[in-house]
């Protein structure tokens, strides 16, 4: 993965204006940049993941895909890298590790998309390419856990200082759990890592460092699992810990569970679009939603005969772009051209 084309993410919290806002940088959102780019439309992509590629990059980077037309075999990451190379000439702007949280109409009749980090983007056209939904941390099915979320239970660390002096329990055995154990033990009052087995899938180097800290008494390792949570008013005071030897209680102020990510429809549900069983119904000519100038392509949309395949999403991106052009450039004429023979398109692609 080290030789993946690098993508620079914009600073959060700023305001941008563009032609098309794309929610979701999965394979379909990425290819939309290409089709829109051929029509001279500029794009901004927003994704909660910290890198592009959606399901291909997050769920199966190393697994083979056999049904991309013209590619007998390509891995999930390979496809993502190829798409990034293909769309490079169009200079799309990326807003990664940001959740698109709200969509509203401006007085000027454009769309304004806001992210959880305060970025705002305005454009005449919005493309929802949100796939299976946004990737979000898995929440342990522990009764009452929601009562503590945001006050004592955290699925990410945004501000290390808030953990100073606290009795911290980190749950999980992957890189996030290990990295945060290594980063927080210094400032914590006490820190324990709890994992279901003595083996870890995290990077061996982090695991060794963690074991060293355990040996020197700077943190604890518990082989077991989190049981019930105890506390008042959202403030955790202790946690029941289940081990092979039995259960015991431990004083804990903060619990940080790291069990990987899962797809949830998320804020797209609040964008004011018609939804049917967590999917966005569209027409099959323009792939437009119930809101004119808001389109939905890829796994997130539904129409009679829909197949959740990457190639379907690519086709949808091409047709959507035609209508996006008519909206963004009402006074210009849309011309059908082949990349093979059009000097105009080849200039855009930087091959001429």
């Amino acid at each position: 993965m080290s030789n993946s084309p690098s993508v620079i993410s914009q600073n959060p919290g700023e305001h941008h204006e563009t032609d098309v806002i794309i929610v979701g940088a999965g394979p379909v959102g990425l290819f939309a940049v290409f089709e829109l780019g051929l029509l001279d439309l500029k794009c901004h992509l927003v994704d909660i993941l910290d890198r592009p590629g959606g399901q291909c990059a997050e769920l199966y980077p190393e697994k083979p895909i056999y049904d991309i037309p013209g590619s007998p075999l390509v891995s999930g990451q390979g496809l993502t890298d190829n798409l990034l190379a293909q769309i490079k000439p169009f200079g799309a702007k990326y807003h990664l590790a940001e959740m698109a949280t709200a969509l509203e109409k401006t007085d000027a009749g454009k769309w304004r998309l806001t992210t959880d980090l305060g970025t705002t983007i305005e454009a005449p056209v919005v493309v929802i390419a949100a796939g299976g939904g946004s990737f979000q941390p898995k929440k342990p099915p522990i009764p009452d856990i929601a009562k503590y979320e945001g006050s004592s239970v955290f699925y990410a660390v945004r501000e290390m200082e808030q953990f100073r002096g606290k009795n911290i329990l980190i749950a999980g055995g992957g890189d996030s759990a290990l990295d945060w154990a290594l980063n927080l033990h210094d400032i914590a009052g006490s820190l324990a890592l709890i994992h279901r087995r003595p083996d870890f899938r995290a990077a061996p180097d982090s695991v060794n460092k963690m074991r060293e800290l355990v040996t020197t008494g700077k943190m604890e390792l518990i082989v077991g699992q989190v049981g019930q949570l105890h506390g008042d008013d959202g403030q955790l005071s202790s946690v029941t810990i289940k081990t092979k030897e039995g259960e015991f209680s431990r004083d804990v102020d903060c619990l940080l569970p790291f069990f990987g990510l899962t797809m949830k429809l998320g804020p797209v549900a609040e964008f004011g679009l018609n939804l049917h069983e967590n999917l966005i119904p569209v027409d099959t000519e323009k792939f437009e939603t119930s809101e004119p100038s808001v389109f939905a392509i890829g796994d997130i949309n539904s129409y009679p005969g829909k197949l959740k395949l990457i190639l379907s999403g690519f086709h949808e991106a091409a047709l959507m772009s035609q209508q996006a052009f008519r909206i963004c450039r009402p006074d210009e004429k849309l011309r059908f051209q082949y990349t093979t023979s059009s000097t105009n398109l080849q200039k855009k692609l930087g091959v001429r």
Binding site: L59, Y60, K63, G132, G133, K138, P140, P141, G172, G173, G174, H195, R196, R197, D199, F200, R201, Q225, F259, G260, T262, M263, K264, L265, N278
Partner: protein, 114 residues
């Protein structure tokens, strides 16, 4: 070999809420696929790629030794499941066969679809 009269491969499933079902499996199919195709509640988000742990099941004690032991990849992925027990498995890693007819599994917490 525990087979039914007409050689059907049976998969017994208890859902997260305790409902019991007897499904007919196909030789070579993953237990997860059988459960999903019957419309029972299983998230199985990665579709069997051993990369999500949302197809987590508990295998009936009688059957535990009859299954192929989990690969390292499956063990690693079980780290992203919840309430993991000795008899925890990822149902997408269990290939159904006549020898497994009668296999009984319970869907674990965290395997519910959204």
């Amino acid at each position: 070999m525990s087979q039914t009269d007409d050689n059907k491969i049976i998969l017994k499933v208890t859902t997260q809420s305790g409902e019991k079902h007897e499904l007919i499996a196909l030789d070579g199919w993953r237990a997860m696929e059988v459960i999903r195709d019957y419309g029972l509640p299983i998230k199985a988000e990665c579709g069997g790629a051993c990369s999500c742990a949302t197809c987590h099941v508990y295998v009936d004690a009688k059957w535990q030794d009859k299954l192929f032991p989990p690969t390292e990849e499956e063990e690693d992925m079980l780290d992203e499941a919840f309430e993991v027990q000795e008899n925890s498995r990822l149902s997408c890693q269990i290939l159904m066969s006549e020898a497994l007819s009668g296999l009984s599994v319970t869907l674990a917490p965290g395997s519910e679809p959204e």
